[in-house]
Subunit: 372 residues, 2 copies
């Protein structure tokens, strides 16, 4: 009984049969010299561009059978997000199963592998575990989720409590931003294996205090007070729901010396608002490419005292990419904090507002944590 | 300091600015009468179709500004996969953040909610937990992953051992097929809350014994012996790696009376091959829309004895959709097993080779498990 042939006949829809008829489109194709060829079939489009994360859009060239393509210059080894734009409309690379989940800007990802591998490439080291939790938030009023990374060898119920990093995503990310795109679990696995980063629990929770704060059709983003409300309810849910659940379910230390908070972009703003206004709760604060503080620094950090910050925090680590449009407010915030006497560990790195910056930020910041 | 304005300026790429300039495209739009409007902008396309899971492709109509649209008839409440096809090429709905991960056929999903809600809609009931494990398979030779669902209230290390359902995905699915698309964790949460399904552990592992057996550009699918090798190595990794790890890490029973195996399509074939040839290992076997058995039933199930099957299994549950192209081999397999005296719990349901069938299969099958 030729069930296999039947399986193929039934399972392979016209999409793939069409592709087979034309010859398969391979995209992306990463070459040995680290150039990458992207291909996209669209016979009717007048203009197609490649949008590679961290770079300006570049035009693709139309070839045979309506296949547009471009081969890049050799790229630095990294994990890149990308999408196509055809006549002004974003398109995914349907031939690449590696997608970049996002509430607004879904895309694809392509790895240009490093030699040696980058910390965010899966390597044959002991792996930690990622737990996906679901709960009804009474504070925010929706069903939501959070992820908890436990390091390799972690045993529930056995051994001492572990330090915890609360790690916040950016605007438009889903709760899985730091794992599915940021590869936080892979980074932690690799750096722990090298002895560079201490074993720790990493908690990654949905970072919106307002349900649907980020959605494809959201028009209320500039609605008066909504940004403040978003941060305030998020903070309440973090302190009132997420942290208590984590400390109940895991061997997670509740001692402030064992707690760090960090985040990227909107999550960086949340980190600063929550971390600097709750110096009794955390000993390490890390803000990567922060954006989205409502109002002035004086209003967000009323009563900011460099002395108090220095006494409370072992590390106030603030970074931004030099090509990020947020570099000016980043520098202004650093100057403002330093003028008030705070010891800021300030970092500028190459790059835009992009995951290639944030993965490096996490890799660097994590090595500063819980060392004594 | 208007950091918020800067954030918006920096974070909102030309994609969205373009959309705002034209007015936002809302897709999909689920109306109160359960009709759904799909929209897709493509000024240059000559022909655009909607491919809704479980139905024939239907043409969309070109309107203003190159926006193609279609409004369906009222749809039965369900979670539907879909994608567009423009001039023969598959396209995702970039405006819908709900994507359907797949190694070959990525798509979107849209929920037409039920009243009362369907078992695969998230409801305010106690939620279980989904654990994402990563490991190097020495048997298969790659870095791979599996998911483990534990029911609400599960405490590591405390209480009696729980029964386990080993649940296998289909060809082209990733290891997250049964959670991200099949909503197995949601189904279990809801049915456990209703007292219809017993609390159990569900293990969902990557179902390929050959690395890259499913990939967008795979040409070797019909390579001699590869299907047999795929199943054989998968079986060895399941018995030699996954089950031992699960039984080490969880309160998972290793008693055959507490073990079930089930799967869809390729995973249904794997379920039958593994389950019926290892009657000492499982007490429940469930095959949903099975496809991909290499060779004949006689060769796959050498020594099949209805009497032995009946003695060993509390449930041999085999199902297929009546509009599925696999319905004929399904019926033939049922007849073959019955002719050999096996008690087969055979089911035919409306539907094609689609997740709407398999979610219902899981909901039904799970209620038969571990009842005494």
């Amino acid at each position: 009984m030729a069930i296999l042939a039947l399986l193929i006949e039934v399972l392979v829809p016209s999409i793939l049969l069409g592709v087979i008829a034309q010859g398969p489109i391979i995209s992306p194709e990463v070459h040995a010299d680290r150039t990458v060829t992207f291909r996209y079939r669209d016979p009717g489009a007048k203009k197609v561009e490649l949008g590679l994360e961290g770079a300006d859009a570049v035009p693709m060239t139309k070839g045979q059978n309506g296949v547009w393509s471009i081969t890049t210059q050799p790229l630095a080894p990294d994990l890149y997000g990308y999408s196509f734009t055809a006549d002004g409309e974003a398109r995914l690379d349907i031939h690449n199963p590696s997608t970049k989940p996002n509430l607004i800007w879904i895309g694809n990802m392509v790895l240009v592998p490093g030699d040696p591998p980058l910390p965010w490439e899966v390597q044959s080291v002991p792996h930690g575990l990622v737990h996906h939790h679901f709960y009804k938030s009474e504070i925010i009023g929706d069903e939501r989720d959070y992820f908890v990374y436990t390091p390799p060898g972690y045993q529930p119920g056995r051994g001492p409590k572990l330090p915890v990093l609360y790690l916040l995503h950016g605007y438009s990310d889903m709760a899985n931003g730091w794992t599915a795109v940021g590869k936080a679990n892979v980074i932690m696995d690799n750096l722990i294996a090298l002895g560079k980063t201490k074993p720790m629990i990493v908690v990654m929770t949905l970072g919106y205090g307002v349900p649907d704060f980020a959605s494809p059709n959201r028009s209320g983003f500039r609605e008066s007070g909504i940004v403040e409300k978003n941060y305030d309810l998020f903070k309440k849910a973090l302190f009132g729901e997420v942290i208590p659940m984590v400390e109940h379910d895991y061997r997670a230390s509740s001692n402030r010396k064992d707690r760090a908070i960090a985040g990227l972009s909107m999550g960086g703003a949340e980190t600063l608002i929550i971390g600097l206004n709750n110096l009794d709760k955390f000993s390490y604060v890390g803000a990567f490419s922060s954006g989205g503080l409502p109002g002035s620094l004086d209003s967000n950090f009323a009563g900011f005292s460099g002395k108090k910050v220095n006494n409370a925090l072992k590390e106030l680590w603030i970074s931004c990419g030099t090509e990020d449009g947020l570099i000016a407010p980043h520098r202004a915030a650093i100057a403002w904090m330093k003028a008030k006497g705070a010891n800021v560990d300030a970092h500028e790195t190459p790059g835009r507002h992009a995951w290639m910056v944030w993965r490096r930020n996490l890799a660097e910041f994590s090595q500063r944590l819980f060392k004594d």
